[in-house]
């Protein structure tokens, strides 16, 4: 499966390299957008020392972990939310006649290697934050766990967004708000948002488990919203539940695919 994915991704890379100018532009734009996100955080801290009780390094740590999980998914599976184009054009048919799960083929479809630039940037921010924070190393084991959890959660959200498009072929933007919208939320400590919103993204969509809950543990802090301590460790379970739901939704979507005329 993984081999097949990378084979397809490599094929698209070669296809993309056929258009060199656009390849280079994409790389530059990708890095510029990531840099803007970091700049926004730095601008906030140029005017204040703490954001909802979090220091600059702590915010960068939260940003770095969410950003790493997100950019990995954005690089490798974000094409799932473009499935409505394939549904409308009827080109999904060609994925379905091959002996490889459609999910893998669509995730790898039009793979753009230039997005890896943003993953590198997320790693750099996270490395800086970890180095500057002077973390308690007995708690650092949570960092890889939360990154993997985050990747699973975002990948599941993208799968849900894709599955939703079998029903809402004409509204891919609705699905986008799931993925890109939620990532925007995760860039800052959730304590800057209203309590009801945070409840929603903790219990309904388990976004708080991408970086917020496990991040509080790593930083050795209590939740300003007062959630109990065991919730810091629920991330993997929440990710698993979401992934199973997403897989079921995807299968339903494929089963209800209607194809196009002729």
């Amino acid at each position: 499966m993984v081999r097949t994915y990378f084979l397809l991704a490599w094929t698209w890379t070669r296809a993309a390299a056929a258009y060199r100018a656009s390849f280079i532009l994409m790389l530059v734009f990708g890095l510029a957008t990531g840099a803007m996100d970091v700049a926004a955080i730095l601008v906030v801290f140029a005017n204040t020392d703490a954001l909802a009780g979090f220091t600059r390094e702590e915010v960068l740590f939260l940003y770095g972990t969410a950003s790493l999980a997100f950019t990995v998914c954005d690089t490798f599976v974000s094409n799932l939310d473009r499935i409505s184009q394939h549904i409308k054009a009827g080109t999904l048919d060609t994925f379905l006649i091959r002996p490889v799960p459609a999910w893998i083929q669509i995730a790898a479809d039009r793979f753009v290697p230039t997005r890896i630039g943003r993953v590198v940037q997320a790693v750099a921010v996270l490395a800086y934050a970890v180095a500057a924070l002077g973390l308690d190393w007995r708690r650092a084991w949570m960092i890889p766990v939360m990154i993997v959890t985050g990747i699973v959660i975002f990948a599941a959200l993208w799968t849900l967004a894709g599955a939703l498009q079998f029903a809402l072929t004409d509204a891919p933007e609705v699905a986008n708000s799931f993925t890109y919208g939620t990532y925007q939320l995760n860039q800052y400590p959730l304590s800057i948002y209203a309590r009801d919103l945070v409840r929603g993204i903790t219990y309904a969509l388990p976004l708080a488990f991408v970086n917020w809950q496990p991040g509080l543990y790593v930083l050795g802090r209590d939740d300003p919203f007062g959630t109990p301590g065991f919730m810091r460790f629920l991330g993997p379970a929440a990710a698993l539940v979401l992934a199973l739901a997403a897989a079921a939704a995807w299968r339903q979507g494929i089963r209800h695919y209607r194809s196009t005329g002729s």
Binding site: L7, A15, Y257, R258
Partner: protein, 247 residues
């Protein structure tokens, strides 16, 4: 090889239910060459898509090579070759050769078998001149031959073709017909093809099935088809009569 039992597929279009295919039953034994005819919108493509598992039937059952296509789609894919005349399954920006190489991996064809198979297909479909050309630059006839080769690289038992000769000139048509005939005769590949070109039917198909409004209206040999309207002399006239309901 192919078995349909009262298979049906309906679609909801703005609150009304449209039956693209209804109560369709037929079976195709191994090694047969079947032409699947019908006017536009009769349900040909819907049937084909149910055979390869793209569409899930809303009623009845479909079995291909002993499998339920919609549930075992990826397993079935190894045993079936599919060609859509209206749309390519090749990678648009890649040279034909690279598409084939990718298909080799997707279908897990070992290198030796693949090479022998590709040499054979390159020869019989005359692909040599454009193996290194990106698919987007191929002419329709070349692309179609490329698509055929792609569908046959994994040596499937069943070949399903949806309008494989659409838009092709006489020479391209003739070469594709000759190739399909050879595949069927020499390898025993079961072939089911839809077409609007009655020349395909006359030259290739030992058995003809006709579908209209989602139902099977004729199933038999060419001679039997001609006998349904003894006063007509050409296959065009006979088929026109059947399509228009005996007018």
């Amino acid at each position: 090889m192919i078995e349909l039992l009262q298979a049906g597929r309906s679609f909801k279009v703005k609150r009304t239910v449209v039956h693209a295919v209804r109560d369709l039953s037929f079976s195709v034994p191994a090694g047969e060459f079947v032409g699947y005819l019908g006017p536009n919108g009769a349900g040909k493509s819907t049937t084909i898509k149910m055979l390869c598992g793209i569409l899930t039937p809303t009623s009845g059952s479909v079995r291909v090579a002993g499998l339920d296509p919609s549930r075992r789609r990826t397993t079935l894919a190894r045993r079936i070759g599919v060609v859509f005349g209206q749309r390519t399954t090749l990678w648009w920006d890649l040279p034909l050769q690279d598409s084939f190489e990718l298909i080799r991996h997707l279908y897990k064809v070992d290198r030796g078998t693949f090479r022998a198979r590709l040499t054979e297909l390159t020869e019989t479909l005359d692909l040599g001149a454009f193996l290194r050309t990106p698919v987007r630059q191929l002419s329709l006839g070349q692309r179609m031959r490329g698509d055929l080769a792609a569908a046959l690289l994994h040596a499937p038992d069943i070949l399903v073709l949806d309008e494989p000769t659409i838009g092709l000139d006489v020479v391209s048509k003739a070469s594709i017909r000759a190739f399909l005939q050879r595949q069927n005769a020499e390898r025993g590949t079961t072939v089911l093809l839809t077409t609007h070109d009655l020349g395909d039917i006359e030259r290739l198909c030992r058995r003809i099935m006709l579908i209209d409004h989602g139902r099977l209206t004729f199933d038999g040999t060419l001679a039997e088809l001609m006998a349904t309207a003894p006063e007509q002399t050409t296959i065009e006239d006979v088929v026109t009569r059947l399509y228009t309901g005996g007018q």
